[in-house]
Symmetry: C2
Subunit: 331 residues, 2 copies
């Protein structure tokens, strides 16, 4: 895989915020989790476990560290992993981050503290500063997680500028899940010149593959997208074509056609009629791996109803959707 | 104290979401915390530690359980306590709630899971159901915490109705911090008839003493208010006058005058010019106890600037504000 960007050891490409399977009693299902992660890896997809799609905030700190331990023990390469570690409290964020860094993870995806609203930039700056200082490890690479529709509290260019000045090695980039290309472009433009001798730039991942082509055309690092849980190979193919050196015929138009095909799949999963993206993605895995156990989510999320599940199945069939080599964990 | 409501063993009256003092290294300052709780008790004020004003979501689960252990060890009566225990994950909410119930706390104040937005009522119902069932203790009394400006995810009358039907003993009431009296009135009206043989009604606490008189006139249980951290005696006096049997001269007009005086104090602290309510309250304690250490907050909150602190001091002086018998912990 040529996913680490040229001239840097930074992680790039396509990453999946891995959905977390649960047992009937809601305990994390390690066996299915590891199997799914291995499948994603086989499709050239890196892992961003414990993200929004992963229902990470519905899990305890202990459950998260224990699942990461299980992935490492199963031989999953930490250099292709960016676990989510941002909690409301500095204490828990530092514990999860330290744990990920000690495992050699390529980076961590960090939510801002999201309980208090209308907090000042100074307060967020102090929060992230405190985390960097407490973790105190030169290997730390933080990707700031901007997802205003969910966290409400967001990441601004001014905040990034202050943090980059203070911690040029630790602040490595961001994931922009604003769903607003203009916002992504603002960050790409603001920090395109930030590569300096002591660091290697500010890497922007888009939170949806819908913006992958645009992101790669503008110097972005890739995408960390929910849909990568079910459509990793096709998304990776677009990424690879973007970063590839070969100038194939009608390159730009072919890239755009590829992007359009990805958007069709994304659109099915992001439809509001399917309860939540997490529930819809899990239902799709349940269908394509013929493994109904996969559909379980933790409250406050709810599974798709039987009718919703049928509709999802029909819509995916209608667009000719497939999942390469996905298998039932029991088989 | 006659704060437990007639005909019930339920907690009522005035409760303070206790501000949490921090050391220079941001660790919770137990000594000041216990001292402040003891002072609040001496002013007829019950305790709702680990609320929004307490910066509970900026603390880890371990810090919260350890501070509650310290309060109990210091002899603070758990029958006058309602610790906040609601986290994003069922696992942590159950652990904190079980811990509080085992200590004999009168109730727990429970936020809904607040990370995922636009969740369905069914998902919130399942969340609270799961918590009640996992705690599995007949002593459990949950007060649902509605604070839409902060948590965004709120509590609806339909959700309460479903929960009350399923768990008439465990679902004891709510704190309404919507800041909207019409909303409080809707809950009071909806559940005024809910007192049945097997339970004792749905107790509504207002999240600001601004609505205390209105709440008590409409069958409410009291208030859990940030300002009770600094103005407990005066707030309690209004509560006591409301529930007292004596028909003093010009009763209604005197109650309204008292309410108006409380509002003047509240207005100073809730001014947006003072960064956050938590920071302003801590600054006031620092001033009146002559104990500058009190001003510390955890990121993402920030302390008042020197100018803001001076302004707060001047405004409090201008309205003749005092704090009865507050003392420096070091003295």
């Amino acid at each position: 895989m040529s996913d680490n960007r040229a001239g840097s050891q930074r992680i790039g490409g396509v990453l999946a915020p891995v959905v977390t399977p649960f047992e009937a009693d809601l305990a994390p299902d390690r066996k299915r989790f590891i199997r799914h992660c291995q499948w994603l890896f086989s499709q050239n997809c890196g892992l961003a476990p414990f993200g929004t799609t992963s229902e990470a905030n519905s899990m305890s700190k202990g459950e998260r560290t224990s699942l990461l331990d299980a992935l490492i023990a199963a031989g999953i390469d930490p250099s292709r992993m960016m676990p989510g570690t941002g909690c409301c409290s500095i204490i828990e964020t530092v514990e999860l981050t330290t744990h990920a860094v000690k495992h050699g993870c390529a980076g961590v995806l960090m939510l801002p503290p999201f309980y208090y609203k209308d907090v000042r930039e100074e307060g967020l700056y102090r929060y992230f500063s405190e985390v960097v200082q407490r973790v105190g490890d030169a290997r730390l690479r933080i990707y700031l997680y901007h997802i205003p529709p969910v966290a409400i509290v967001g990441i601004t260019t001014k905040l990034v500028e202050r943090l980059l000045n203070a911690y040029p090695n630790a602040i490595a980039g961001m994931k922009d899940s604003s769903g607003d290309w203009n916002n992504t472009k603002t960050f790409l433009d603001a920090f395109e010149e930030s590569g300096r001798s002591d660091r290697t730039g500010f890497d922007v991942f888009v939170g949806s593959e819908t913006f992958l082509l645009a992101n790669m055309r503008n110097g972005g690092a890739g995408t960390i997208s929910a849909t990568a849980n079910v459509n990793p190979a096709a998304i990776y193919e677009l990424y690879a074509a973007c970063v590839g050196q070969s100038k194939f015929e009608n390159r730009e138009s072919k890239l755009e056609q590829h992007q359009a095909r990805l958007n069709v799949v994304r659109e099915v999963f992001s439809s509001r009629k399917f309860s939540s993206m997490s529930a819809a993605l899990k239902q799709a895995i349940a269908i394509y791996a013929n493994d109904p156990e996969w559909s379980k989510v933790r409250p406050p999320l709810v599974e798709l109803t039987t009718e919703q599940a049928k509709l999802l199945s029909a819509e995916l069939k209608a667009i000719g959707f497939t999942m390469n080599e996905i298998r039932n964990t029991e088989s």
